[in-house]
Amino acid sequence: SQKIEQNSEALNIQEGKTATLTCNYTNYSPAYLQWYRQDPGRGPVFLLLIRENEKEKRKERLKVTFDTTLKQSLFHITASQPADSATYLCAFLSGNTPLVFGKGTRLSVIA
């Protein structure tokens, strides 16, 4: 069956460091993947989209990579700040099927 895994439930890093979150998939050939941010008590908010033929996408301090050989996406936040503390969700799309979300990684940036 299709499976999406975000490598850890929680990640703690120090302010100023680069946070790297991982999303792996199996039995799946996604055409797109998206990353969302979710703050406590709120709905997810879209951050970035990357297509299968794109290796890397950047937006300000955010960078996403998509490796179809490793079946993996990495999400990086450079120069992390306490305000970046949130849960980050990856989501994959293939064909006409709806998005499939991972369980999320809760990031805590410690000042």
Binding site: G43, F46, V100
Partner: protein, 116 residues
Amino acid sequence: NAGVTQTPKFRILKIGQSMTLQCTQDMNHNYMYWYRQDPGMGLKLIYYSVGAGITDKGEVPNGYNVSRSTTEDFPLRLELAAPSQTSVYFCASSRRTSGTTYNEQFFGPGTRLTVL
């Protein structure tokens, strides 16, 4: 634009009661979705709609019903509430046209439902 709005924000139901969760979007999006989110379990798709009059089941549709009579509204109905339906429910919408990039989803603030 208000985006995606959901009502109510919180609700407590007794087992066997019924209720409708309301969802409205003002972005003229054709796609709309209902998800439930349980602690540590991520978002699970309940139902979705690709346009007015068209709905389809997601991963966890049992115990729920939906309708889509207008582009703007996508209510979710619980007919016989059960404790297993205790969750946070999110409605979302997106614009999707054939042959183009699948666009991001816009989420509402959620409804926290407890069934006792």
